[in-house]
Symmetry: C2
Subunit: 390 residues, 2 copies
């Protein structure tokens, strides 16, 4: 990239060789916004080149030290720290080039209305450099962090860059939505439910008729199917969703959108173990690893409806369905007691009681009281008695 000082460049989308110029006006508003940000990134660098300066990009730092819990917003967030990635710097030149290769590929994806996986993006952007034996990327481990850099730098989720993760999670209930142009009535999606896509931004998914009064996130696929088979969502006018364990980004983003746009409260039903608490915690305030996403994915008002370690007595569960806590369970639970977002009397009581009791419980343990005990007695009673934690 030779510095050209004479003719200043337009700030519109860059025009690579062999590819038609992108007609930004023809794009959907969401796509236009993201392409605008990517083009802005490129234009900024071209300005530096035109001004004879060393091209550089300021990238927010994704580190624990640059992460904080925002007490007011109740979410984990990224701080203001940034690093400069410059072109004329031996240790940074390759990453600089990679950043723009990825930005260019994402621009192409958005402009053509296509989406793809991060694995595919790696192959799309992998080229051998000139006559050398070096490649733009040797392994996907090199392109994945560049994607995260780009997300924070242009303040767009990877889904807005048209990159998807694995589909995981299903949904059913009192809501009709449009998914990629197809109208889906979530009251008629069969036994497996609607497969929640990874990309659920408003240009792909639009909400239509909603008769639900709340959203229930169930940790496990298998337990979700009990709720679906028993048509819990119909009886209780709600939406049921699972994320196959830790909910993937698509499910989290959709929870957030339903909470924000449809004004539906979100209830979380997980195993009574540290992993269950962690799932709830990530849904509610985001995670340290992906703090830059919290603003778009966290649901600070989410409520934990169980399993609570007090449920064992409250619902007279037999002793033989409990599982002994091991050392790592105890140490993870103690670690949680140290997090600011668990620093509330009710959570201290909950976590202390679990450690004291020495056991954990799976959702399936409720089946010892009957196959539909969870849908017919457990959850209705918890909700009726407002027996949840926040």
């Amino acid at each position: 990239m030779a510095a050209r000082k004479s003719t200043p460049r337009s700030k519109a989308a860059a025009e690579p060789k062999g590819r038609p110029r992108i007609d930004v006006e023809k794009l959907e508003p969401a796509a236009r916004k993201t392409v605008g940000r990517l083009a802005g990134l490129a234009a900024g660098v071209l300005d530096q080149v035109d001004g004879g300066r060393n091209p550089s990009v300021a990238i927010p730092t994704r580190s624990l030290a640059n992460t904080f819990y925002d007490e007011k917003r109740k979410i984990v967030q990224l701080g203001d720290e940034k690093i400069e990635r410059t072109f004329f710097n031996i240790s940074m030149a390759k990453k600089f080039m990679q950043t723009f290769l990825v930005a260019d590929a994402c621009t192409e994806l958005i402009a053509s209305g296509k989406t793809t996986s991060i694995r595919d993006l790696y192959y799309m952007t992998k080229h051998t450099l000139g006559e050398t034996r070096s490649n733009t990327f040797e392994e996907q481990e090199e392109s994945d962090p560049i994607i995260e850099d780009l997300e924070v730098t242009v303040n767009s989720l990877r889904e807005e860059l048209h990159l998807f993760a694995s589909n995981k999670g299903s949904m059913a209930g009192e809501l009709t939505l449009v998914d990629a142009g197809d109208t889906i009535d979530l009251r008629r999606v069969g036994s497996g439910g609607w497969s929640v896509p990874s990309i659920v931004e408003s240009d792909v998914i639009q909400f239509k008729k909603c008769d639900a009064q709340y959203v229930l996130l169930v940790e496990k696929d298998a337990v979700w199917r009990r709720f679906n088979e028993d048509k819990y969502w119909k009886k209780h006018k709600c939406i049921i969703v699972h994320g196959g364990g830790q909910p993937p980004r698509g499910v989290r983003r959709l929870l957030r959108r339903m909470n924000e746009e449809l004004k539906l409260p979100v209830y979380v039903l997980v195993d009574n173990d540290p992993w269950g608490f962690y799932i709830y915690s990530v849904v509610k305030q985001g995670s340290i690893n992906l703090a830059y996403e919290s603003m778009r994915m966290a649901v600070p008002g989410a409520r934990f409806v169980g399993l609570s370690s007090f449920d064992r007595d409250r619902f007279a569960l037999p002793d033989n369905v409990t599982i002994r806590l091991d050392d790592s369970d105890v140490s993870r639970t103690k670690q949680m007691l140290g997090y600011k977002w668990f620093d509330k009397p009710q959570w201290k009581r909950e976590l202390d009681h679990m450690i004291k009791s020495g056991v954990k419980l799976e959702l399936e343990a409720l089946s010892a009281k009957g196959i539909s005990f969870i849908t017919e007695e457990y959850l209705p009673r918890k909700l009726k008695e407002r027996d949840w934690l926040e």
Copy 2:
């Protein structure tokens, strides 16, 4: 269980305490058949009791030694070897009891029209024995093999026993079906597709309007989405399905049903590596581990459309997208050359060429030629030139 010699018992479904007698006549035909088989198992044992004999059940042996490749049917099958599980035998009494606990729980599930996970079944059947500290099952590792025993003994898939595995896999295309009473038009299932349930027997899933000419199984979720986004199934009048890697039982069973009932040929598109070959092989003739399922799940006519290691030259793929074979790849490929079902000249040529070339290829590697190369050029040409292996 005391031996009662006087009054012979009815052969109808057993009637446990506290549970209403099952009205077999009211069940769906499929459910009636399975309940009949479970009741038959119980009745056989009760006859032995009435006759003063040691109650016993003959269980087909699930071992490599009792597995063979049926050259005529072209599937891996279980042989005739059986073991007798008897009640009055210290090493077998507990398993005998467990077999009937599981059979009883499955009968209850079927009779109540409910389905559940194998984890849940473990909790449902776990009880503490009398005043002892012993439980019917200590861990799920004890109940899972009992389920497999029961499947082979009463010749019913676990799905027919109303037990499901994880949902994995999606489908879209030129087919309308009914899933748990909901009509699903697979031409309008949005970006994530219809989530293929674990239980796809004819009492749950019924095929309606089919305009497809073939079924395409794609190994990977992410690649399947390229096909869905490009509406490949619409352009080429087909059904596209993926199983998120090795297809789960629900996907395999549905492939078989579409092949058998809708007379659709099945094409398999996988990575060019031993794992891809293995996926194809399990779809086609079943696996050694689950040989007893082949009869209901294998698709002996399935065709391998790629990736072939000859595709690299045929489609001029760049060198930098290949991945070097490691030692385990080579030894697994050599192992495959020893399987009877790969003992064909075309497969020898394919596998030999892969070892000789020293590299493998992922489906995503085709994206180096353009994001929709796989849907617009690669597969159409392969099918047009009938460039597949069987």
